[in-house]
């Protein structure tokens, strides 16, 4: 099965410095998201490679909401998708941008809850 490649560009974000980061795994129903800094004049470029063809409109909506949430510019995002649902995609994107901006620190851990 051939992969489908989708490209999105969102202008008008705020320049967001960080260290290249990768989250997720390329397993069935999951995906891998890489974020890296890129001089794009405040834009955010996203490239998706997915095994599930024909869902361009949904990717567009998911990515548009992601950009609206973070307004992160001057970054490039690469997505390798193995059939993840939009819920998982949104979650991984949020985790990826958070890891990227944490500048090499560990991602936020769940605060341990005590009784």
């Amino acid at each position: 099965m051939t992969m489908e490649n989708l490209k999105y560009r969102f202008d008008g974000g705020k320049p967001t410095p960080g260290v290249a980061a990768i989250v997720g795994v390329l397993g069935s129903g999951n995906l891998e998201v890489m974020v890296e800094p890129a001089a794009l004049g405040g834009a955010c470029e996203i490239e998706v490679s997915t095994a599930a063809r024909g869902f361009g409109a949904i990717w567009q909506a998911v990515m548009g909401d992601f950009f609206a949430r973070h307004r992160a510019g001057d970054i490039r995002i690469l997505v390798n998708d193995a059939g993840a649902t939009p819920a998982i995609v949104s979650l991984r994107l949020d985790q990826a941008i958070e890891t990227y901006t944490a500048k090499g620190q560990m991602p936020k851990q769940m605060p341990k809850k005590e009784k």
Partner: protein
């Protein structure tokens, strides 16, 4: 001699006696007391079955009368034909072979999980006539009204020579079937795994049973209710957090039933961690109508659970259950006694909440697991997932749901069951859970059904929970609001993208729709670290080694 003009009132008993006489002559000396050797099973069936008989072949959700099902496929169709089969579950290929072989003609059933696709094909070809697809309670009820079996082919763990049966942890449907058959002139034949001098306990008295056949192999049984925690996703953890905080805590749900699936397993595994951290121990989830899900072990060990009554058992849980008689219903011998009919009634009348998943939901909240090429039936969900209109006793959760319903539709004070549909907006392979029209409509048309097979009707559903939030349908003023509330949690599906943003935001302001953040839940906290067990091995450890999972769930 009876007076020939006198009306005869025991036709059925005479017919049963004739059948028993034919059986005695066919079996001859091979029968000792009630025990018939396995190699005489076909002869016995040919002796007691007449064309057109109603035959209840015990196919449960879990245990199967598989030896008797195979024997039935080997009877001579010239002698035994046009049978009307009654089965709660169609699970084995033999259950459908009967129609291809010309032995059976009509079927009344509840659930056909593994055979759903073949059943749809056979119905399409006119090979099988379906009377109706029932819920479990509905089918059992008809055994006592207009579908009383002439012959019941049942399955038990052990028997003695007098026919006393030990059905053990997986008693399931057996008492309901035998009660209807034995007391209305029917014949009961049981296959058993072993013949013993004395059964551990008498689950069915011997004088309700006509024949006992020691089966060459133990009966088939399926571990249907085991979910490996390793496969629970972060999205399911998030949804479980919303269920606990947004619904269980909100209404103080103490008595409930969970459908089976990873979504509900996630809730069970969050009770001793997340729910405990919210101070909910003792305030929610004390009493259950539920199969003994292995995922419940950590919650039971943490003292969350006071009681569980079960429809059936679950392979591997036997020793754990036997060691927790304060929680489970057990016999004097120590093993569990399940009973599908009673547990279904308990789930319908004595539980305040049902939560379960489905394949499709439409914009009125109707849900269905039927798809065009599969006739899968209903099982128990409709009994659990329906307001019990005959209920009269009050509880805080029931009263509060009733109050919310009356806030939109005033009327005399009464309570309301909480019926929650919990779905991710997309299933695997990007199949949307929200649709404009249920596939059930097309299936009804192609299979000639009188109604689309709806599992849970929209007017019974109180909440829809997705990764995007909770829609409280009780608080919707009219059909339009209801549709927008559903669209408002339907995510990126076509139904979700088609929402009216203004109305949805208004519904959110009024608390009809609640997002994770509205509930004070930080999505970043939704990690697998919150699960009280993250693998089957963790469950074994939590049980102190009492849980012994079937081999296929062991990966260590």
């Amino acid at each position: 001699m009876p007076n020939p003009t006198e009306k005869i009132w025991d036709h059925e008993r005479q017919r049963r006696n004739q059948k028993l006489a034919r059986a005695a002559s066919a079996l001859g000396a091979s029968q000792r007391d009630k025990v018939v050797p396995a190699d005489m099973a076909v002869q016995l069936l040919e002796a007691v079955l007449e064309p057109g008989d109603r035959v209840c072949l015990e196919g449960n959700n879990q245990k199967q009368a598989d030896f008797l099902a195979q024997a039935l496929t080997r009877v001579d169709p010239a002698r035994v034909n046009k049978l009307h089969m009654l089965q709660s579950v169609l699970a084995l290929p033999e259950h459908l072979d009967l129609y291809e072989l010309g032995i059976a003609e009509q079927l009344d059933f509840s659930f056909s999980g593994p055979q759903a696709a073949r059943l749809a094909r056979m119905v399409g070809k006119g090979q099988i006539r379906i009377g109706a697809i029932h819920t479990y309670l509905e089918l059992f009820s008809r055994y006592f009204v207009d579908l009383t079996p002439h012959v019941a082919l049942v399955v038990a763990q052990s028997a003695d020579a007098q026919g006393n049966l030990y059905t053990g942890p997986n008693t399931e449907d057996t008492p309901a079937i035998i009660e209807a058959t034995a007391f209305k002139n029917g014949i009961v034949i049981a296959q058993v795994n072993e013949l013993v001098d004395k059964v551990p306990r008498v689950d069915i008295p011997g004088d309700w049973v006509n024949f006992v056949i020691p089966s060459p192999r133990p009966h088939f049984i399926e571990p249907l209710f085991t979910r490996d925690p390793a496969q629970i996703s972060e999205i399911q953890v998030l949804m479980a957090m919303m269920a606990i905080k947004g619904i269980y805590a909100e209404y103080g749900v103490q008595r409930l039933n969970h459908g089976i699936g990873f979504d509900t397993a996630a809730i069970e595994l969050l009770l001793p961690t997340y729910a405990a951290s919210l101070g909910l121990k003792g305030k929610i989830c004390s009493h259950w109508a539920l199969n003994p899900h292995p995922a419940m072990i950590p919650a039971i060990e943490a003292g969350f659970v006071k009681s569980i009554h079960s429809f059936g058992s679950e392979l591997g849980m036997e020793n754990y259950i036997a060691a927790r008689p304060d929680v489970f219903f057990t016999g004097a011998d120590g093993t569990m006694r399940s009973n599908r009919a009673f547990s279904q009634a308990a789930g319908h009348y004595a539980c305040d909440l049902f939560i379960g998943s489905t394949l499709q939901i439409d914009l009125a909240g109707n849900s269905s697991t039927a798809t065009l090429d599969r006739i899968s039936g209903f099982g128990g969900a409709p009994n659990m997932g329906a307001d019990a209109a005959g209920r009269r006793h009050a509880s805080p959760a029931w009263l509060r749901a009733g109050e919310q319903a009356r806030s939109q539709r005033p009327g005399i004070p009464r309570g309301r069951k909480l019926v929650v549909q919990m779905v991710e907006t997309f299933r695997e392979h990007m199949q949307p859970a929200f649709v404009a029209e249920l596939d059930a409509w097309k299936l009804a048309e192609s299979a000639g059904m009188p109604l689309p097979p709806v599992m849970i009707y929209g007017d019974d559903v109180t909440h829809i929970l997705t990764e995007e939030g909770i829609a409280n349908l009780l608080l919707c003023a009219n059909a339009e609001e209801r549709e927008q509330a559903i669209r408002g949690v339907a995510g990126y599906t076509e139904m979700g993208l088609g929402r009216d943003l203004r109305i949805v935001e208004n519904l959110r302001d009024r608390g009809v729709i609640q997002r994770a953040e509205d509930l004070g839940i930080d999505k970043r906290d939704a990690t697998r670290d919150l699960l009280a067990a993250r693998s089957i091995k963790d469950l074994v450890r939590a049980s102190g080694g009492l849980y012994q999972p079937p081999v296929r769930f062991r990966n260590w």
